[in-house]
Amino acid sequence: MVLRFEHVSFRYSGISDWGLQEVDFTVHPGEMVLVTGASGSGKSTLCRAAIGLIPHFYPGSWEGRVCVDGLDTRDHPVHELFGHVGLAFQNPDAQIFNQTVEAELAYGLESLGLASDEIERRLSWVSDVVELGPLMHRAPYSLSGGEKQRVILGAILALKPRVVLLDEPFTHLDPGGAERLRMLLRSIRSEGIALIIAEHRLHEAVADVDRLIVLNEGKVVADGPPRRVWAEDLSPFGLNLPPLVRFFREQGWKERPLTLGEATAVLKDKFYKGELSRFALSEGLAPKSVGSSRGLTNSPQNDSSPMIEVEGLDFGYDGKTVLQGVNVTLNRGECVALVGRNGSGKTTLVKHFNRLLKPTRGLIKILGQEVRTKPLAELSRHVGFAWQNPNDQLFQANVRDEVLTGPRALHAYDRDWCDRLIERFGLEPLLDRSPFQLSEGQKKRVAFATALAVRPELVVLDEPTAGQDEPFRQELAVLMKELRAEGRTVVVVTHDLEFAAQHADRWVVLAEGRVAADGSPNTVMADARVLAASGLRPTQSFQLSEALERLGKEFRLETTAP
């Protein structure tokens, strides 16, 4: 074994709830373990305890023991454990602290006190493993999110640890980046290194892992091979189950396939055993979880009058073109997802809606009027933004002032509306508290309330599901439905294609600053050319839906053949 948690309980100083309670498990060399649970369930605390930051960095009450590679973390400070166990933290910017990629990879090796020829050997090896060769002399701040993640993993791998932990590694990655990370994780595992991945986005990694551990309020509530864990009742734990699992559960079937190939094989088997009719396959077997991506038409208040019209938009800076010839119209009551790779121009495009950015060429109309003639303050009454990081806007002494900042600045205070918002987001008990003291989930709620406080007709949600658990996603879906029912247009900038496919009518796909496609999620995902150009992957729900359709046709042919 390389990692052993022995009845570990930990409570942060000054907090009444236990972060970990009686956690007991063992990880063996080369094992890949996925740790999941709702926000606040103890995933990050477990990661910190595994590398010795708890108890050495965080004061609190501690029981039990953690052994890494035979070393008891209570008796060894973090700097004696770092050669045995590494952790890739959530925020890439807060863990890259050297001026070049090469220096970043070499830092831990210097800390180990290795001779320079050994450092060179390991740098050469690790730059091959994480494919960083051409980037070695680049400044880390200039890298993409996926590249930064490879630098962080490379810096850990260079130390040749026995265990590597990753805290929500898929959160900020686009579909292409996520695929590349999966490949890298497989290759790390093939080196015999144990991997522990703490993640909400289960479908990203579950097919590769040996074990799934579910945490709830700091306790291990399920632990075993994914198929066995899926068979248990997980509904109280706020998990975002993979679409395949949800589909088989909805059908009441006991099988728990992890991949589409396995699911197809199970369906065929069921058909031949007579447990599944041809009719069901070809006509009606679209489960609730898949149905929404099979032709969404739920646009309650879509009256087709344009909310935003973008015509021939070009934008660039420092000689770099970011947007080129973008033409998009967003109608009232629509929910549109802006999707594409990191850096494809999604956020740049939405920042033009209220003139946070001014186009190099082209025009933008909001409610039929050109934005060029309007001051930003006026446009802000029509366009509300809820940014990915709520900490970007919190500065007032209490939550009440935070919510009312926009209406006061724009002279658009509507007391009834603001009271309704405060009630809608459950902020009454928090009104006199400092926004800085809130949990991340509460901050998100405050950010939504501030975005809506001036009753904007267009609401832009920037990566709203990043790092969020299933209860939050469901709450967000309800909010979006309510906004649309009121005739507001919702724009979601996201990498979360499952969410986008379930809740958006339309996808506008950006690739290298151009609109590569504009249509229903199904139309986009069925177009291989668009997917290749934009680095997107069809969602598991869509693939399952396609597989069901294919099977339906196949069986129809079989039964009608002479």
Binding site: I96, F97, T100, L394, A409
Partner: protein, 219 residues
């Protein structure tokens, strides 16, 4: 940045001597000659474009100094002061452009500076970019709520809206960074540097030349 042929210590010591010479010279032809030599070095090292960007900012400062000194003293003093500022800026531009921050911190440790201090010096440069990007995001987020942050006066009036989130994020970043650094052995005893600085003959020649120039001009 690739390793440079000269040791950072010799470059730093030489830069300090040359800066001393520039401060001591008080006639405009000498300052102009010094600046011309330094520009020659800039061109030789193919750093012309980066130097022009530096001049973009430093030029304003030099221009302001020129006006203030001209009004306060005379034209000749104003020319000397502004040329000196440009030359001093160019000396340290050459030093920083040819020295990787890690090499500088290694060299400082060799000169007796405690490692945490030398490391903070090099690490902080990385975070200038990170915090600048965060500040831009915060500014956009606040402007989108209707807080006017355009122009210096308006930005000053609404500074808490910009500084509040930035400070909170900077503190959070510092906390996270401390954990990440510890997890890569920041506190480990027995650190060895990948590129140990070594003074070569070329370093001694450079330092001797700079010291010679300093003695000739100043003493």
């Amino acid at each position: 940045m690739k390793p440079q042929p000269l040791d950072p210590r010799s470059k730093l010591i030489s830069a300090i001597f040359v800066a001393g010479v520039l401060i001591a010279l008080d006639d405009w032809p000498s300052q102009l000659a010094g600046l011309a030599i330094l520009i020659g070095a800039v061109l030789l090292l193919r750093l012309g474009r980066a130097w022009l960007s530096l001049m973009n900012g430093l030029g304003y400062a030099a221009g302001s100094f020129f006006l203030i000194v001209w009004v306060t003293f005379d034209l000749s003093a104003a020319v000397v002061v502004s040329l000196r500022l440009l030359a001093l800026g160019t000396v340290f531009f050459l030093f920083f452009k040819t020295t990787a921050p890690e090499d500088l911190s290694n060299a400082l440790v060799k000169l007796g500076t405690p490692y945490p201090f030398a490391f903070v010096l090099s690490a902080s440069m990385q975070f200038v970019h990170v915090l600048a990007r965060r500040a831009a995001n915060i500014r956009d987020a606040q402007r989108a709520r209707g807080i006017p942050l355009e122009g210096p006066l308006s930005t000053f009036r609404h500074l808490p809206a910009l500084l509040g989130p930035l400070l909170v994020q900077a503190f959070k970043l510092a906390d996270e960074l401390a954990e990440a650094m510890e997890a890569r052995g920041f506190g480990a005893p027995g650190r060895r540097f990948r590129r140990e600085p070594h003074l070569k003959i070329s370093d001694w020649i450079l330092m001797a030349a700079a010291a010679g120039l300093f003695i000739t001009v100043v003493l």
